[in-house]
Symmetry: C2
Subunit: 516 residues, 2 copies
Amino acid sequence: MSFADRVQNPALRTKIMSADEAAALIPAGANVGMSGFTGAGYPKAVPQALARRIESLHAAGEEFRIGLWTGASTAPELDGALAKVHGIEMRLPYQSDPTCRRQINAGEMQYTDMHLSNVAQFVWFGFLGKLSVAVVEVAGILPDGRLIPSSSVGNNKTWLDQADQIILEVNTLQNPGLEGMHDIYYGTRLPPHRQPIPLTGPGDRIGEPYLTCDLDKVIAVVPTSQPDRNSAFAAPDENSQRIASHIIEFLQQEVKLGRLPAELLPLQSGVGNIANAVLAGLNDGPFKDLTAYTEVLQDGMLDMLRSGTLAMASATALSFSPVALADFNENIDFYRERIVLRPQEISNHPEVVRRLGVIAMNAMIEADLYGNVNSTHIMGSSIMNGIGGSGDFARNAYLSFFMTPSVAKDGAISCIVPMASHVDHTEHDVEIIVTEQGLADLRGLSPTQRARLIIEKCAHPDFRPALLDYFERSLKTAAGKHTPHLLDEALSWHSRYLKTGDMRPVAAVQEALHLV
Amino acid sequence: MSFADRVQNPALRTKIMSADEAAALIPAGANVGMSGFTGAGYPKAVPQALARRIESLHAAGEEFRIGLWTGASTAPELDGALAKVHGIEMRLPYQSDPTCRRQINAGEMQYTDMHLSNVAQFVWFGFLGKLSVAVVEVAGILPDGRLIPSSSVGNNKTWLDQADQIILEVNTLQNPGLEGMHDIYYGTRLPPHRQPIPLTGPGDRIGEPYLTCDLDKVIAVVPTSQPDRNSAFAAPDENSQRIASHIIEFLQQEVKLGRLPAELLPLQSGVGNIANAVLAGLNDGPFKDLTAYTEVLQDGMLDMLRSGTLAMASATALSFSPVALADFNENIDFYRERIVLRPQEISNHPEVVRRLGVIAMNAMIEADLYGNVNSTHIMGSSIMNGIGGSGDFARNAYLSFFMTPSVAKDGAISCIVPMASHVDHTEHDVEIIVTEQGLADLRGLSPTQRARLIIEKCAHPDFRPALLDYFERSLKTAAGKHTPHLLDEALSWHSRYLKTGDMRPVAAVQEALHLV
């Protein structure tokens, strides 16, 4: 379908211009709300044009930076391009871009790492300042001006509602068959006028298939024809497969004990290779007629939909490898019956997540002995990506899993540590920890009971003795024995890693390398 | 009203017995769900009788301990009595008793510190094991066996539904005028059968004024006539008044900026002297027609109801000083029109808290530079009380305040620290920090922006230079500058306190005491 066929509204046809012309309309210092969630549905042309403009302005000695708000992560053409020219003053609510990350950790870019369900309402509340411009990718524009959303919804409804001015990117590479897959809920209100979100099943449609906006606010319509990020996933490795099998075994046990129905409860799965491997395991597993109420649909869930293991899936974004995308495009009529794409305030809504009883499965960086989880920081200070939706789901889930291989960096880092160097999910929110070593079911346990179980089930054998030693000495000498810690040592593993590149004491490393 | 008048059901009259007889029916090792929330509505006779029984069994060399589940904190006659005889194996979901605390911190009692909104559903899910016996205080029993709830609701609905056997304590000291004040919602279901909680205003009544239970499960009806804990509050001190005035000024500003309606949004206020002082400040302040959607009604809210500043209040428990209680009892018809008491799964329900847009105000132990809050632990290892409902409210609130004086122990402890020694509320959940020094509005700020503001606005002048020094050195030398920390020093203030009784270096203390 041609660009002309995609822009059917006469008024908006008059606003068609190049990306460079559109980018020239964005003022310095503006907060700009861009579409994009997990490398899907982000604008591709305007951000790059804006980056070029910023680069030449900076070369001319002129200041130009923006506040960049999105749904979640985007891609090199957006985060990468704008970061490279030092065009981002404040980034929120999530990023996973290498250039952004480097600048944030160098103190050159401010970053506010937020629960993804909170972003839209905080903008409505006026807590994040004024949103000046929205730059939103769409798949098409109907004659009456309604917008066919793209491969992600994210915060687009809020950006279009709240921004003073709107730039639309119409991407002719997005499948026109996306039309009808979305469900944009327009029933949100500000307190005290809020009503229940009327969603009681993952497949419920409670809104409209189209985004709408005040057409008078549209200042530019820009043609693009570039693909989404479409990163390939790594093939599930042995550790991921073991993690998957521990989770599947546990879920089977819960069904047997009558604590889960045979078709389980709606699945939420974080983004990344481990999550994808768990989904592959579920697809090969004993379960049928599953559902998903999640943030992002990756390859794993598409496989499950195709095989029939998954009856339907709700999400806010599609994040496929090139191979999965080809399948999706070829069979879009099949998938449209089984996928609902929603705004992220609904896909991640605490009210809905709790009501549905979601089974949440999220990756983490490290957990400590007492079940506190770090999802965001390397060695306490450096941001990796962000909390994303993991808190929205984990806090409100029926069952919440946090997953990681037990070690990282070829064994130099233990992902089970005495004390987490940063806490994103507290002991009150972490139910089940899984590594390739095993699964620790922490429900109803005290901190010291948790510690013994986590060491036994989840820690890598190379670190188990040292963890047990820390725990036993803490139990003997800590000021309190509820969550016994030796404060002079609690972060020493991280500190040692920063100094030596290894959490293990030098002697232990030498022994491991057969140097002594 | 006499005990006989309070037990109007003929079948239950046949189960009347003494507390000692009833306590004899509780089996060793049982999980026992007792009523009680913030020292209100807890059983008074049976726990003490059970403690006597346990003491004599222990003296005879017999093992006897129970799992003790409640709504929240109770009183010396319950937690204290059972802890003194070492009768509690596992305590959940909250305690604030000195004997329990001592045993937990000595490693002699297990304690699972939970979000209060989660307790009922986790029992329904089967996550905490089998509940054998419910021991529930009521104000009376109707002819058809329905129960008039007492001065708290807590988890009583769930205990009565889920326990195999039920012991009722009928307390003739509870005001019969409580009848009609409660709203027990019987619409909760297990996923996937859950429906929206149909509550859209703090005063809505969505259930029944009575608790019901299977009368065949009732094994004992025990008369009591003992008052609730009824602790007096300290008169608001200067620090609390300053905290209150910072909050009130901030709320006025938010109204002026159009971010809050003139009558604000429903207030939630934690338990304790600071919270009570803030309420006193609000009562003297400029606001009218306020509402409350909170956990516990303390003296402060009763004053506000009486003065008309507060139009209505929803809670799960009444926790009054003797003076306030006398007023409450005298004017119970007035208060019954303005107070709704609900199960804690509804008073603290994330869905409802978010929908109503609650303004949450909770005390804390310490916050760190980056806005992570510790609500539960002293120096990382020793439990104080527990997280209670602070997470239910803070995470889902419209605005969330965390409050503390800037120093404790006569200045030896800074309540603003480089790194929190335990995290209950993460950087993603903490919007506003208030001390007597000032208020830091952290909305939308990056970690380093937060740090500068917290040091400037909230830290005590005695600690401000050291905090700034830590922050500036971290910014220079930390591996990452997103949340810069010096891991070898991050917990050194706590460590120093444990060694010397003072967070300040010896030299600084000597100087403060004019010893040098």
